[in-house]
């Protein structure tokens, strides 16, 4: 296999392995734990290296994963004292651990081939050249093996505990009532997240791990609320961005992990803007429409309340509901376009249709029954024109 293909494979598998725990972290509102873990595994790696003197040793992964779990435990311990809030606890723990790591590296800079830049960014470029050799036979890059095994473990965990994870994510109370211990699942998930972070971090660095965990899941969450679909989508997004990012980096001749993150960022931005019904544009459009509809309703109800011609002059209405001219005019036009009102010599009067609508609306407001609102929804769609 060519190095090119190797890199893409490693990136893609890493993305898939990260996306799965990422979905649950996002849903459980623990996205920042991944950030904390990815930083605080540094001292674990450094200490592991001092003991084994081998950067490729599997012990390193174990040490690092262990320090990841210590982070989670420490955060929870601090939180339990009630002295500070959870986010402060996270913010206190990981910089401290990371600092210890950085100092340890700097103190032993001469005999450690461990660079802080590499920790943050990883060096995907060199990953294909560190190959797994057994009896002289070449089994492909080591990094690919590590991350593939992690992916398999993650998948097994997911398949075995899918139902439990789902329940405990969405309803902690129900899950403990059903006898699935949320604590065990929580630590299980944290361990998987830790191991994945460590394995991925080797290839892509601390920051990209966070991006690979959170961004695909967040983007998928904007498109669907079905857990299964969300998992599939985020894996797809992750893998797609990994491969896209690789080619982008080649074209730009810059850091692969930075470029993958950038592609993830662009992907998220696009989905954030254009996602149907949950994207920014859809939300703004909806809010605007709702605002218009409320104005229209207010206006019609006002008309309904005032019979005398004096109260129904256009100018007077503008003063009375306290709208500015532009808004008042747009509401007036909207109502007229929908045949709700007629304007005769600057006097506004409700048509039969407008009257019927107003009564319906009043009915709903008074009774506040849901079945009335269904009807109303249909009516409100009329005003989009």
């Amino acid at each position: 296999m060519s190095p090119m293909l190797d890199i893409q494979l490693i990136a893609a598998v890493t993305a898939a392995a990260c996306a799965i725990p990422g979905v649950f972290l996002v849903l459980r509102k623990m996205a920042l734990i991944s950030d904390a873990i990815s930083h605080s595994i540094l001292p674990g790696i450094v200490i592991g290296f001092f003991i084994t003197h081998d950067l490729a040793s599997p012990w390193l992964i174990i040490f690092a994963a262990f320090s990841g779990i210590i982070t989670v435990v420490l955060v929870e311990l601090i939180q339990k004292t009630g002295l500070v809030k959870e986010d402060t606890a996270i913010g206190l723990v990981f910089p401290a651990l990371f600092s210890i790591g950085v100092i340890l590296i700097a103190q032993n800079a001469n005999d450690v081939h461990l660079d802080v830049d590499a920790v943050l960014l990883g060096d995907l470029v060199y990953a294909p050249f560190d190959r797994l050799m057994i009896d002289g036979a070449d089994f492909g890059p080591k990094g690919l093996w590590t991350i593939s095994i992690t992916l398999v473990i993650t998948l097994l965990f997911l398949l075995a505990f899918y139902k439990e994870l789902k329940v405990s994510t969405f309803d902690v109370g129900l899950s403990s009532a059903l006898g699935f211990s949320p604590v065990i699942l929580h630590y299980g998930l944290m361990s998987v997240a830790s191991v994945t972070t460590v394995a991925a971090f080797d290839a892509v660095g601390a920051i990209l791990v966070v991006a690979m965990m959170i961004a695909p899941a967040a983007a998928a969450y904007l498109l669907t609320t079905d857990l299964r679909k969300m998992l599939v989508l985020s894996v797809l997004f992750g893998v797609g961005s990994a491969i896209g990012g690789y080619w982008f980096a080649r074209w730009l001749d810059a850091s692969i992990s930075g470029s993958i993150t950038t592609v993830l960022g662009i992907l998220f931005l696009l989905i954030y803007l254009f996602a149907p019904s949950k994207g920014l544009i859809a939300v703004l459009f909806r809010q605007n429409r709702q605002r218009k509809e409320v104005s229209l309703l207010t206006f019609l109800l006002h008309l309904n309340n005032h019979d005398s011609e004096n109260e129904r002059r256009v100018a007077h209405l503008q003063e009375h509901i306290n709208w500015r001219k532009v808004r008042a005019n747009s509401v007036l036009q909207l109502a007229e376009k929908n045949n709700m009102i007629t304007i005769d010599n600057q006097i506004v009067s409700l048509t039969d249709k407008g009257l019927e609508f107003t009564e319906k609306a009043l009915d709903y407001i008074i009774t506040n029954k849901d079945e009335k609102i269904e009807d109303m929804k249909d009516d409100f769609f009329l005003f989009r024109g």
Binding site: V26, K29, M30, A31, L32, D35, H39, I78, T81, L83, V84, K85, D87, T88, I90, G91, L92, P95, A96, F98, S99, I100, V102, I103, A106, Q107, A109, V116, D117, L120, L121, I207, L208, V210, A211, I214, A215, A217, A218, Y221, L222, A249, L252, D253, A254, S255, S257, G258, S259, T261, T262, L264, G265, F268, Y272, K278, G279, L280, V283, L284
Partner: protein, 370 residues
């Protein structure tokens, strides 16, 4: 190096002054971040500032730190607004938004930095100091900038003190009073971003959030007053800066940023343990005291139960009939005697009138404790 050199060495003095001012402003503004439960906003912003530095360099091609910091400020602010956009307009939660902005912006920044490194411009070296900070590169003009920013933010904080305080503790009330909460909110965020950007050169992107959080979290343990907390946090931050610089200067190969963070962490640990009101140790002591007090009263009440069936309350009873289930120990007995609730004669005890009355009112909360 000896102490006199520490005060006479020009470079060291500049750096110490710089880190002290930085610590003070971070502590001051960090108090607001901590109380607003936005602790990790600082982390997100500091990472989000990185692409700004890179873009500023790409545009100007110069390494003037003021221009670079301006770029950092702009991209930090973009980050803040995007975070706000994500949390208010979509159903994604704050933590996801923070993590997203943090990693995406940082990744983009690293992409730009590596791209810049490949450029033939010889000027580019040293941009990566913003990752971990290099206090050693602080010069007088940087410190001057820090002092100016600190002065401005102090002024604004004093001007808007009432508004900030109100917004922190009761946003809805502030809104009903007619304050422009959006503006005040933006103002606080702006100054937090400013503090972070100022610190990037010294502490670096990655560790900046701790600078903001740690002094404030430590100060929070000692007081319930906002003004005291802000002042304390500023002092803690300044001392972290000074001590951190001193420690890192005294040894080779110790980068200043991480050391400052660790010193600040020590402040936090000490505060968590030893603060008289909230500290873990004193809390534990209070807990044990309460437990003892409860045991004492339990014993007393058990005695009262025996005594009240008799006409003469001070009739002696054998100590033997008490057992540890009623919270009885030798110590509690002597303590009860000390309080003049019982008297002990040999193997017997008898209740005093005082003790009888206390026991009778033990579960009556209206009587003030004796």
């Amino acid at each position: 190096m000896d102490i006199t050199q520490y005060f006479t060495d020009y470079t060291l003095r500049t750096i110490t002054l710089g880190t002290a001012v930085l610590g003070a402003i971070c502590g001051m503004l960090g108090s607001f971040a901590v109380l607003r439960k936005q602790s990790l906003l600082g982390d997100a912003i500091s990472h989000a500032a990185l692409p700004g530095i890179a873009v500023a360099f790409l545009i100007t091609g110069a390494k003037d730190s003021n221009v670079l910091l301006l770029g950092a400020l702009v991209s930090g602010l973009i980050g803040v607004f995007w975070i706000r956009g994500i949390t208010t307009k979509t159903h994604l939660k704050t933590d996801t938004a923070l993590g997203l902005i943090l990693s995406l912006f940082f990744g983009f920044g690293m992409l730009l930095l590596t791209y810049i490194q490949k450029q033939p411009n010889a000027n580019q070296a040293g941009l990566d100091k913003y990752l971990f900070g290099q206090a050693a590169t602080l010069v007088e003009s940087d410190v001057l900038l820090m002092v100016t920013v600190t002065g401005i933010s102090l002024l604004v904080m004093l001007l808007f003190w009432k508004e900030f305080k109100l917004l922190l503790f009761d946003k809805n009330y502030a809104m009903t009073l007619g304050f422009n909460t959006k503006f005040i909110d933006g103002l606080i965020s702006f100054f937090i971003v400013l503090a972070i950007v100022i610190g990037l050169q010294t502490v670096g992107v990655v560790l900046m959030s701790a600078m903001l959080l740690a002094p404030a979290a430590a100060a929070r343990q000692w007081t319930n007053r906002l003004s005291t907390m802000v002042i304390l946090a500023a002092i803690f931050g300044a001392f972290s800066g000074v001590f951190g610089t001193a420690i890192s200067a005294s040894q080779n190969n110790l980068s200043t940023g991480p050391v400052i963070v660790l010193v600040a962490a020590v402040f936090v640990i000490v505060s968590f343990l030893f603060s008289p009101e909230r500290g873990i140790i004193f809390k534990q002591i209070r807990l044990i005291k309460n437990r003892r007090d409860l045991q004492l009263k339990k014993t007393l009440y058990f005695m009262y139960d025996i005594v009240r069936d008799h006409d003469d309350i001070s009739r002696p009873h054998a100590i033997r009939i008490l057992n540890s289930f009623q919270g009885f120990t030798k110590k509690t007995l002597s303590k009860l005697e000390e309080k003049n609730w019982i008297t002990i004669q040999g193997q017997n005890w008898s209740m005093t009138a005082d003790g009888f009355e206390t026991a009778a009112n033990l579960y009556n909360n209206n009587i003030p404790e004796s």
